[in-house]
Amino acid sequence: MTIQEKSQSVIDEFSMYDDWMDKYAYLIELGKDVPLIDEKFKTNQYLISGCQSRVWLHAKMKDGLILLSADSDAVITKGIASLLIRVLSGQTPKDILESDLDFLKQIGLQEHLSPTRANGLTSMIKQIQLYARAFLLKSQKL
């Protein structure tokens, strides 16, 4: 599935819930499905700054696609990481860099997911883009 298609499926799922409580409960559920980062990568090197809770994010390249994994000690943050990974993991660096991530605004958690909140969302996105750029450069050199 493309980033666009995956985004749309996330939007569709969240549109089933009217109540913020149900949306958060669903976000927390999603967190439980996050591809967990290997314990050996839970180090400062993979720690994302800008969040009150700790979030680790790891990326690797396989067959031209970026594979992401993460973990957090806060379940809401883990849910946010899980959302990003669901849409962006398994995509090419180029597609990741070109995506607008507009789905975050459309799932009705926009206030919570605003960049000025100390939830690390902005840092997570930046980090994923950084990985994508690095992998893209590397592939061009080869």
Binding site: M21, C51, A74, I76, T77, A118
Partner: protein, 405 residues
């Protein structure tokens, strides 16, 4: 006398705000308090009717502004029972007051000497001293705090020696709510000739401050934590000390005679107030302290103690809760963690229910880490908070825990 919270709440327009469709419950008073109409109107009135630069004009408005500004200083000196208004320096707030002191005390703290702070200091009463010690090659020593959140007085006494040049400590902890025995500690420190700076940021709105009774050399507070405006605060310093310490910033207002080669400096308090001051802020601060005085600081303390006691008794019943800070003498601050749940998650869900609390390390990272915690959830009360709000908070907390467990 008990506070008429209903009448008080009518003075604070922001308290009728709705957050996420729910009535706001504002329990983040430790970070900043809301402002009553008396303060808002005072600032507006200044800009509408009195604005002019102080201390220099021959014209009418300048005289009006200067009189109001200096009357405010006199009132504030009285509010904390300073001996004279010369001891009241207006700053941007507690942080600037402490930075000012940590700069001018370069002429007092030297290599191999020591500065003492407690383990429960806010970063703003820790980092300036840490950096002063680094510059001067002096040693910063930390007075230990128990798991209950109390200073170990025996260990404190053992740390005193002629090498110690300053004791800097908080009056009330912003994380633990502990009211420190500052008067007793100052007395002991004085036996060694050690001057004492008290960080009163969390105390000014919650308990009576009498700097002569405390007998501290320096006392600092910010207006915004006492129902006043942001960006204005006070450094109290004993006249004898402020007189002999060097100036901090240089410029207009703080000078006496200026030549191209050299200058002489103004008398106290102007020596420490370079540049055009925040006159509106000072008048707003005066209005805020008058508001506190009208309600009665003892009534406020009684009210907040009651809120704290009630909230503590409810929270203690929660399975897996740990209240952080259980000192005997405590006020207005309730920090806690829930076993297995990150404070950030609780804060996020409570926000959805209109409840403003703070989560994290509360700018006291070394302290929170020493308790082995990633942060705490902190409810901090003000004079307008009510028992009903504590009930709403408690119910919301239970709901959040249920959702997050």
């Amino acid at each position: 006398m008990t506070l008429d919270t209903q009448k008080i709440r009518a003075d604070f327009p922001i308290l009728s705000t709705k957050v996420n469709g729910k009535p706001l419950v504002y329990f983040d008073n430790g970070a900043t308090t809301q402002k009553p109409l008396q303060v808002i109107h005072r600032i507006t009135k200044y800009y509408e009717e009195e604005n002019s630069n102080v201390h220099r004009g021959v014209h009418h408005l300048s005289q009006v502004a200067t009189d109001k500004y200096e009357n405010a200083r006199t009132y504030i000196a009285g509010f904390i029972n300073a001996q004279s208004e010369k001891e009241i320096i207006f700053t941007r707030g507690t942080t600037e007051s402490i930075n000012l002191m940590a700069t001018v005390l370069e002429s007092w703290v030297f290599a191999n000497e020591e500065v003492l702070v407690t383990a429960m200091e806010h970063h703003s009463n820790l980092v300036p001293w840490q950096q002063l010690c680094k510059r001067q090659k002096a040693k910063l020593k930390i007075i230990p705090v128990s798991q209950q959140g109390e200073i170990d007085l025996d260990l404190f006494k053992e740390m005193l020696s002629p090498k110690v040049k300053l004791l800097a400590l908080t009056h009330i902890s912003n994380v633990l709510g502990t009211i420190n025995p500052v008067k007793e500690m100052i007395e002991v420190a004085h036996n060694y000739g050690i001057p004492v700076l008290v960080d009163g940021a969390q105390a000014i709105a919650h308990t009576k401050i009498d700097v002569q009774d405390l007998n501290c050399e320096f006392y600092t507070f910010s207006a915004h934590k006492a129902y006043g405006p942001m960006g204005i605060g006070v450094l109290f310093g004993k006249e004898t000390w402020l007189k002999r310490l060097p100036p901090y910033q240089f410029g207009g207002e703080m000078i006496d005679q200026v030549g191209y080669e050299d200058s002489t400096f103004n008398t106290l308090p102007y020596k420490y107030e370079a540049g055009t001051p925040n006159v509106a802020g000072v008048l707003g601060m005066e209005a805020a302290l008058r508001y506190i005085e009208n309600q009665g600081i003892d009534n406020i303390k009684k009210h907040e103690d009651h809120l704290l006691e009630y909230a503590t008794s409810l929270l203690e019943e929660i399975d897996g809760i740990r209240i952080v800070g259980t000192a005997k003498e405590k006020t207005a601050v309730l920090s806690f963690v829930i076993n297995g749940i990150h404070p950030y998650d609780i804060g996020t869900i409570l926000d959805q229910m209109g409840i403003a609390i703070r989560t994290g390390n509360h700018c006291a990272q070394p302290l929170v880490e020493s308790f082995g915690l990633p942060g705490t959830i902190r409810a901090s009360f003000g004079l307008y908070n009510t028992i009903e709000e504590v009930d709403v908070f408690f119910a919301a907390l239970l709901r959040a825990i249920e959702m997050l467990r």
